[in-house]
Symmetry: C2
Subunit: 108 residues, 2 copies
Amino acid sequence: MLDAAFSALSDPTRRAIVERLARGPRRVTELAEPFEISLAAVSKHIQVLERAGLVKRKREGREHVLSLDARPMREVARYASKFEKFWTERLDRFEAFVVAVEKEKEKK
Amino acid sequence: MLDAAFSALSDPTRRAIVERLARGPRRVTELAEPFEISLAAVSKHIQVLERAGLVKRKREGREHVLSLDARPMREVARYASKFEKFWTERLDRFEAFVVAVEKEKEKK
């Protein structure tokens, strides 16, 4: 699941599609509108996102309606936050430094 | 930055390398040890991680020492957490459901 999710999210157009769907479900044509690439190219990106489980497709009459499925995104968030200590520790050191500087000022 | 980070993390061997470096800096040969692929293949993966900014290389005499740079990972975590409401909302609904069930029990 992570392989496909990370791979799908490595493309800026696909991330833009995901962000657009975060505002609500869209028909394929609606979704493609703001992108300056062909409908065929958008469709290919959508297929990659569907295979990664990030986009769901529902048929409504003749139209296909796409919506976001955030579950793979949650896995991505979980994976990346496992490394959180690397940036919070650095922040802790920075905060300790700021406190030390402030204390030094108080002495003067 | 996100393009390269997502792309680098889409491979399970590269994620394993990153996880191994999270425990501390390693020489290339040490790092390659647990992987059942050639040193050349590991080196290629390391190069991809370096280009994505996830791995830093330092020369110590004849050896190259690799360490993790978690900054791109922080960007990945930030990006994915923008979608957090999609899983917390679902959780809120589930919690509301549990509370409703408990209330129903109390009535009996």
